[in-house]
């Protein structure tokens, strides 16, 4: 029937016709079938082309000497000079290692926590209480970083912080702000605390579209609520999980700058100096556009690589992917 052929895109060419359709013919046919989709896509493509692709020529700044008189693209071509400066710096290894540690820890915990939270909240039967939990957990997302770090300073204060006192009540004497070994846990946990609720929204929306008949059917088969979670909820989340996982892998070298900058002190510096803060320090006395662009480019290249690899893996093993 026409419908099937339409959808599979097979041309309605009777067998035995001579030459296969030419390029122009194929394009015309494609357009006549899918012009509506192209119209739907037009605004998005337009905005992206203008606002994202037009300025992209600026990337070449990573390979040129920034010379203001000559304009943005007029500087002398220096190839990989600034990349080499970055790679040769004694700080490179430390900074890369710290960035990866913090990033990956945040990634893993930050990926799993919202899922768990969504599953928990979804189980709440009373609609009002459910709504209350949802609102309460996403509130921290809106607090500015400056304030979050300020709060950390007060709550984790070695002598009189509430959290410190709580821990010592359990017999643990922790220097939560000074001990370099605790920097990453404190950072990650505060990150998760702040964004978990917000990130769970997308999972909650996915769970809201779960077919209620599935619950009924499972119950009839004798499932208890844990079973419901395992066999109904989680499978419903898998496609979303995979997409979000691919996207988070694309952030592997991106730690937030501001929070780490505010949390750094002389004691945790060996583990808290990351690419972002290092770049800021170097640039701080000014105008090192080329170096900054080069480091930024390095950063995004690695991120993109991870994204591509993860996407490929997802396509291979889970049949879901970005492209």
């Amino acid at each position: 029937m026409t419908l099937v052929r339409e959808r599979t895109g097979l041309a309605a060419a009777p067998a035995g016709r001579g030459t296969p359709p030419g390029r122009a013919e194929r394009v015309r046919r494609h357009l006549s079938r899918y012009w509506q989709l192209w119209v739907l896509l037009l605004p998005a493509i337009g905005f992206t082309a203008v606002f994202a692709y037009v300025p992209m020529y600026g990337i070449q700044l990573a390979f040129r000497e920034f010379d203001f008189q000559a304009g943005l693209t007029g500087g002398r071509w220096v190839g990989l000079k600034y990349f080499e400066i970055f790679f040769d710096s004694p700080m490179f290894g430390t900074v890369l290692r710290n960035t990866l540690t913090i990033s990956i820890a945040t990634l893993v915990v930050g990926f799993l926590a919202p899922i768990a939270l969504a599953l928990v909240i979804n189980q709440i039967v009373n609609a009002t209480r459910k709504r209350f939990m949802q609102t309460a957990t996403y509130l921290p997302h809106f607090i500015s970083i400056v304030v979050v770090v300020g709060m950390l300073q007060v709550l984790l204060n070695p002598s009189n912080g509430t959290v410190t006192r709580l821990f010592s009540g359990f017999g643990l004497d922790l220097d939560l702000l000074g001990d370099p070994d605790l920097f990453v846990p404190v950072y990650v946990i505060s990150e998760v605390w702040q964004h978990c609720g917000w990130n769970s929204i997308i999972y909650l929306a996915a769970l809201a579209s779960v077919d209620t008949q599935l619950y009924e059917a499972a119950r009839i088969d004798g499932a208890n609520r844990l079973h419901l979670i395992r066999h109904v909820d989680i499978p419903a989340l898998v496609p979303t999980m995979i997409i979000l996982f691919i996207l988070t892998m694309g952030g592997v070298l991106s730690t937030g700058f501001e929070k780490i900058w505010l949390m750094q002190n002389a004691l945790n510096l060996p583990v808290s100096e990351v690419i972002a803060t290092y770049t800021y320090r170097i640039g701080i006395l000014g105008n090192q556009f080329s170096l900054g662009t080069a480091i930024g480019l390095f950063n995004t290249l690695i991120n993109f690589l991870f994204l591509v690899v993860t996407n490929w893996l997802a396509k291979k093993f889970a049949d879901t992917s970005l492209w």
């Binding site: 710096s89 300020g150 300073q153 007060v154 204060n157 070695p158 002190n265 004691l267 701080i284």
Partner: protein
């Protein structure tokens, strides 16, 4: 029933129609006659320019109308984009708002004022009055892009040393004069009930200003270097100092090691605040203010007693002379020496203004005798009043405020361009008077510091962009290693065992290269002054 998309589209269209009427902006680049656009970078506390009375005086004197663009936050990000896109308003005003690095990179954007000095008599007068001012303003190739400010009455150091006299009296102790005496006093503070509130354990004997990973600042243990005869400026910064014409970095100097050993000894004995490495500045200041009438801190450094400990507890503290490292040593003690009366780069002019004469007139008007006083301390009549040929700075009109905060709230204060002439007498405000008075015990030590040969002229040398990048790149590694070591050695110890490796590490991180660069500029500077 309209689908969601249709509804959204309608909203969008209506919104756009409604709002095109409300576009602000429009073009604004000083095109109008007799209008000068000034971008002013203010301190966070400073109120709107419209509230400052002297602005009217400025406009009248220059014969123009001023349009202000006021920036109090995130200036460096805004600036980077503006300059790189080649956009500069007629004038940019602010304390080092446009830095030497910016001037080097974007020199074509700014007006070279060296050939406009005929139109700027006040400026010429200022540059002639002190050689340092001309040095600050002039680039190595002779151009003058940015003008400095000069004021008087600031003490020669921004840090004074305080010990709680009441505690000393309560325990029958004398003001310490050496490191060992300090140690004993601190032990007494810790073990006994020094503040007399019945609790022997709530005293913090020694607290200092939080140390930033980017280097040292005033009020930190590097103040003790004075006891070993090594003067610092602004707390030591990245460690570069000059001694007998030779530039060195104290981060690899034996004297710094001694300071660390002493500090660690004190820390290990529980004489230092446990939060000293992790607290932020606001916590540091809060702790200093104690609890009502009960003081919490025994020994610390600060700008003035009122600033450091709050008005309520200020009287409990006395400022003291620098401590000798060892009793009866032969090396004379020095003290941290600062040059607060001079500051660079307060005003720049665009190379491309519509109204050149107007802009130049505004610049010169800033440095007019009476306007300068008002820029620094506030309006005539409310903040300042005439006193014969001179002026008196009045106490704050708001009783709840203090002189410093009041100044910063009501005018541009130190950030604005100003020249307080040497022959004009000003009765300084209470905070400056307090600072001067409390600097008495430091007088002898400061006399041992010859600013010409003992202090590196950071403010007066103009380092090239290339050299500055090298310095910054090396320093980032050096300081990462040094500040981490500082933190570890003070809290855990180990400076004796690790010192040699540490020095080797710093030297291979590019420290000698930086020292050599700084030496080169120092030699040039000395040569140019003779």
């Amino acid at each position: 029933m309209m689908s969601r998309t249709h509804r959204a589209g309608a909203v969008l269209a209506t919104g756009a129609l409604l709002l095109t009427g409300c576009t602000g902006g429009g073009d604004s680049s000083g095109a109008a006659d007799g209008t000068v656009d000034i971008l002013v970078v203010k301190h966070g506390l400073t109120g709107p320019m419209a509230d400052m009375g002297w602005v009217a005086d400025l406009e009248k004197k220059a014969g123009v109308k001023i349009r202000w663009e006021e920036v109090s936050a995130d200036w460096s990000q805004k600036k980077a984009t503006m300059l790189a896109a080649g956009e500069v308003p007629d004038l940019i005003v602010g304390g080092n708002a446009v830095t030497n690095a910016d001037l080097a990179t974007y020199s074509s954007l700014f007006e070279d004022l060296s050939d406009d000095l005929d139109a700027l008599p006040n400026v010429q007068g200022m540059l002639d009055s002190h050689a340092e001012l001309a040095a600050m303003a002039t680039r190595s190739s002779g151009e003058v892009y940015a003008l400095p400010s000069y004021r008087r009455y600031w003490p020669e150091t921004i840090s004074r040393q305080y010990v709680n006299q009441e505690w000393l009296d309560n325990l029958g102790l004398d003001v310490p004069t050496t490191w060992d005496e300090l140690f004993d006093v601190l032990v007494a503070f810790k073990e006994q009930d020094a503040n007399g509130n019945g609790d022997p354990d709530d005293e913090i004997p020694w607290d200092w200003n939080p140390v930033d990973p980017a280097g040292f600042a005033a009020g930190q243990p590097t103040m003790l270097l004075s006891g070993l005869g090594l003067p610092t400026t602004y707390g030591g910064g990245q460690g570069y100092v000059v001694e007998d014409g030779k530039v060195l970095n104290f981060l690899v100097d034996e004297r710094y090691r001694e300071v660390i050993e002493f500090t660690h000894r004190a820390y290990a004995a529980g004489l230092v605040s446990k939060q000293v490495m992790t607290q932020d500045y606001s916590a540091f200041q809060s702790v200093g203010r104690g609890d009502g009438d009960v003081a919490k801190v025994g020994f610390s450094w600060g700008w003035t007693a009122s600033d450091r400990f709050g008005a309520r507890l200020a009287d409990q503290y006395t400022s003291t002379a620098p401590l000798e490292a060892e009793a009866g040593q032969s090396t004379p003690v020095t003290w941290n020496y600062d040059t607060e009366n001079f500051s660079p780069n307060h005003i720049v002019m665009s190379a491309d203004t519509a109204d050149r004469d107007g802009a130049l007139a505004v610049i010169d008007a800033f440095y007019d005798p009476e306007i300068s006083v008002q820029v620094l301390w506030g309006d005539l009549g409310t903040n300042v009043e005439r006193d014969g040929d001179g002026y008196t700075v009045l106490p704050p009109a708001d009783e709840n405020s203090d002189p410093s905060t009041w100044k910063w709230t009501t005018t541009l204060a130190d950030a604005g361009p100003h020249w307080i002439r040497d022959d004009v007498d000003v009765e300084p405000p209470a905070d400056l008077a307090e600072a001067t008075e409390q600097s008495e015990p430091l007088r002898e030590a400061l006399a041992n510091v010859d600013p010409d040969t003992d202090i590196y002229p950071f403010k007066y040398v103009n380092i090239s962009t290339e050299d500055q990048s090298t310095i910054t790149l090396n320093d980032t590694t050096v300081l990462n290693l040094a500040m981490t070591a500082f933190g570890r050695w003070v809290t855990e110890g180990g400076v004796e065992e690790e010192w040699d490796d540490y020095v080797a590490q710093l030297e291979s991180a590019g420290l000698p290269q930086n020292v050599e660069i700084y030496q080169r500029y120092y030699d040039e500077y000395v040569a140019s002054r003779s």
